[in-house]
Structure formats: C-alpha cells, structure tokens
Amino acid sequence: MPPVAPRSGDAIFANVERVNAELFTLTYGAIVRQLLTDLEEVEEVNKQLDQMGYNIGIRLIDEFLAKSNVSRCNDFRETTDVIAKVGFKMFLGVTASVTNWDADGTCCSIVLEDNPLVDFVELPDNCQGLYYCNILSGVIRGALDMVSMKTEVTWLRDVLRGDDVFELQVKLLKHVPEEYPYKDDE
C-alpha cells in the first residue's frame, strides 16, 4: 500500500528560509561546551541535550506537518520513513535513511552520513562519554511523542567516536492512535 505522498524534502528545503550552517554549527558547539562547564558531568550534559531536543521536537512537529503535507502517518514505519527522508532534509539539509527493521516493525535505525552539527568537532579525550549530537535523538523522540508514538531513541554509531556513520535506533514503546489530534474530518 503506497503511503500518503509527502512533498520531497529537497523541494521543501529549497523553499524555506535558510541560513549559513556555520552559525548553527558553532552555536550548538558553544552550547555543548557551556553545558560541560556548568554541569561538569558528561552524563548530565547528555541528559540536558536530550531534553533540549525533546522541547524543540514537540514544537518543530507542527512546522514539519504543515510544510511537508504529511497530515497523518498511518503507522510507525511510514512515520520514521518520512522523518528520515523529509524531516532531516527540510531542517538540516541532509538526507537520512531508515534500515534494520525488526520483524514486528517496532524498531529501526535512522542512519545519517552527513551531519552539520559536527562540522569542525573533535571530541577531547575527557569527553568520550559525551553523546555530542544527543539533541537530535531528543528532537525525534519529542516529535514522535506529539503524534502519539512513545519511543526510545539511542545512539548505536557515532562518527565522533570513530564510526563511519551516525546511527540512531528508534524503538516504538507505545502507539496511542486515538489520542491523535488531527481527525480525518477536520
């Protein structure tokens, strides 16, 4: 069954207001560094970055739905696909792919080869436990939460830790479709 045809991420990205990625990259870097100074514990920084991402995700979902024409996604599989192919493109200008589906379709990986957050970044030795891009996992969790999908998002691979790509595992914990705010006859 073909999914609702979303607008392509490229077309949307071409039409949104865009800014120099350097500003975004350096700002994010400065935030991470300031959090490390203020919170001291790397674990706590990971937690805060995830929280910041979550708060951003629950707000960005509206813009995402409005601009992408994906008013409703029927299932988890379709939703993650749209996030990877349209969401990443329209906000970060990069494309992600979805792989490693488990048998019952409740767990998959979003793989990102290119990621503007880490341009120029090299982790110092005392920050090896840091999930530098943890804001991204929070954004995904927050966005999915708003479409009634409770998920757990964890990093499986990280270029800053020596892997060849970024890989985020997204595991569906609970799907509550009846709470979905957008009804068919709206």
């Binding site: 350097e22 870097g29 341009d119 120029f120 970044v121 090299e122 982790l123 110092p124 920050c127």
Partner: protein, 143 residues
C-alpha cells in the same frame, strides 16, 4: 621543500609548530621561527614600503638565513603563520596559495567548540591537513 611551519598567538605564544625534516634540527628551526617573530612585529609596526602591501595578511619574505627562506603571514586576529623552506627559487604565488590553504585549515581548527582560544592546537585533523598542504607545496601552480 618546506621544513617547518608554525602558528604563533598574538602574545608570541606558540600555538602549533611542526618540522618536516629527517635531520635532527628541530631546535634550530624553532629558533628560526622565534627570531622571525621580531621581524613580523617590526614589519607590521613600521611598514617601510606602504602602498598595496600595507595591512595585507601576507607579509612576504621575512628574511633569508643560511640555507633557508622564512615567510610570514598575519591574520586580522593577530595570529602569525611562519613558513620555513629550503627552496631557493620560490614563487610568490605558491607561498600565497600555501598560506591561504593553511589559514582555512587554521580557521576550521579553532572552530572546534572544544578548542580554547590562546591554547595549543592539538587537533589531529589540523595536523593531517597541514601535512597535506605542506606536501603539495609548489605543485599547484605547476600543474
């Protein structure tokens, strides 16, 4: 052949220095770099030949010494780049091109959020990029 490159902070504090010789002359090269800093200061504070050279980041040949030629570059943020070469017949364009690429690598290195301004540049990526730029010195304009 480039034998040494260095990045020096605005208080003449060394931020990065790398020599590229087999010989055990690191100490001597460091000394040459050190001496060149005074020449940079002098050149910048008392620009003799004004005109187009004034305030240009590329400072040109600082001084020839024994078998070396020493070139300098001063960024807008008062960071000095020093290049020491054994080539006697060096094209100005090659040196300019070298500093342009070196500067780009430097800017990326200090854009690392974990780099502390004024502290030594420890980035492995930077060291690798510098070594690539050094190896290709003089080849770009030849073909």
């Amino acid at each position: 052949m480039i034998v040494c490159v260095a990045v020096v902070g605005h208080q003449n504090n060394p931020l990065f220095i790398q020599s590229f010789t087999e010989a055990d002359d690191a100490l001597k090269l460091h000394h040459i770099v050190h001496c060149s800093l005074d020449v940079v200061d002098e050149r910048v504070n008392n620009p003799k030949k004004s005109g187009p050279m004034l305030n240009e980041t590329f400072l040109g040949l600082l001084y020839p010494i024994e078998n070396y030629k020493v070139y300098g570059y001063l960024t807008n943020t008062k960071v000095k780049f020093i290049l020491v070469t054994t080539d006697l017949d060096v094209k100005d364009a090659d040196v300019r091109n070298f500093f342009r690429r070196f500067h780009a690598a430097y800017v990326d290195a200090v854009s690392n959020p974990f780099h502390v301004p004024g502290k030594k540049i420890t980035s492995r990526t930077f060291a690798e990029r510098v070594s690539t730029i050094v190896k290709s010195f003089g080849f770009s304009s030849a073909g």
